[in-house]
C-alpha cells in the first residue's frame, strides 16, 4: 500500500516537474508546479511529517503558487512565451549532460550512504505534533523570530519595489508611465 502510494506520487511529481521546466506557457508551468508540490506534500506525510505535508499544501500551493499565477496573468506573458527561445542548443545539451552526471553522482552517493540502513518503522515520537512544537518554540525560538522579521522585511521590500514609480521631476510624465490609461 505504502509502496503503491509512493510510486504513484513520485511519478506524478517527476512528470509534473518536467512539465514545469519544459512547457512554453508560464501559466501551465505554474499549474504543473501545483501538482509537483502537492505530490511532494503527500510524500512528506508518507515520511511521517504530516504537519509539514499540510503546511506544504497550504503555504506553497495555496499562497506562493497563487502569487506566481497572479503575476503571470497580471503581466500577460503569453506573447512573450510564444516567441521561440533563441538558440541555445549547445546550452541545452550541456545542461542535460550535467544533469545526468549530477543524478548519477548523487544517486550513487545517496544509495551507498543509505541503502544498507534499515528503515525503522515510524515511531509515534517522530510524528507527534506536540513535541514538534516544543522543539520549534524551545531550541529554535530565535531562528523562528528571525524568520518572522525576514517575512516582514520581504513584504515591505516587495511593496516598495513593485510600487508604481512616482512621476520623477524632469521626466516626461506621460511617456515614463507605460501602464497609464490608454
Amino acid at each position: 500500500m505504502e509502496l503503491a502510494i509512493f510510486v504513484i506520487f513520485a511519478a506524478l511529481a517527476l512528470v509534473s516537474a518536467l512539465v514545469v521546466v519544459l512547457h512554453r506557457d508560464p501559466v501551465k508551468s505554474t499549474l504543473s508546479l501545483v501538482v509537483t508540490l502537492f505530490s511532494t506534500g503527500v510524500l512528506f506525510i508518507l515520511l511521517g511529517a504530516p504537519f509539514i505535508g499540510v503546511l506544504q499544501v497550504l503555504v506553497y500551493t495555496g499562497a506562493i503558487v497563487v502569487l506566481f499565477l497572479f503575476v503571470v496573468m497580471l503581466l500577460n506573458l503569453q506573447r512573450e512565451a510564444r516567441r521561440a527561445e533563441p538558440g541555445g542548443h549547445g546550452q541545452k545539451l550541456f545542461a542535460g549532460l550535467g544533469a545526468l552526471a549530477f543524478v548519477a553522482f548523487t544517486g550513487v552517493a545517496l544509495w551507498r550512504a543509505t541503502a544498507g540502513a534499515e528503515t525503522a518503522p515510524l515511531t509515534p515520537d517522530l510524528v507527534d505534533l506536540q513535541s514538534f512544537a516544543a522543539d520549534l518554540f524551545g531550541g529554535y525560538l530565535l531562528p523562528f523570530e528571525v524568520v518572522g522579521i525576514l517575512l516582514l522585511v520581504a513584504v515591505i521590500a516587495a511593496f516598495i519595489v513593485a510600487k508604481r514609480p512616482e512621476p520623477a521631476s524632469g521626466e516626461r510624465p506621460a511617456a515614463s508611465d507605460p501602464e497609464g490609461p490608454r
Binding site: V20, Q56, A99, F102, L150, A162
Partner: protein
Amino acid sequence: MIVPVSWYLVLAAVLFVVGTAGALTRRNGITIFLSIELMLNSVNLTLVGYSRLLEDRTGQIVVLFVLAVAAAEAAVGLALFIALYRHRRTIDLDRVNLMRW
C-alpha cells in the same frame, strides 16, 4: 512494505536536477523562478527523508524555515519582475543584461 528512505532521496536528487536544468536553460524569468522553487522543494524532501532516517525532528523544523524563506523570496522576486516589466516590457532574461558584465 516500508519504502526505503533512499528511494525518496534519489527522487529528491532527480527533482533537484530537473530544477537546476530548468534554471540554467530557460530564459523566461517566471519559469526560472519556478525551477528554483522546484529545487527548494526537492531539498525539503531530502531534509524530511533524513529526518525520518535518523529519527530526528530537526530536519522537519528546518523545512519550516525553508518554506518561510521561499515565501519571502517569491514575494521579493515577483515584485522585481513586476518592476522590470514596467521598465523594459519584457522578462526575457537574455534581453535584460543591464547588470551583466
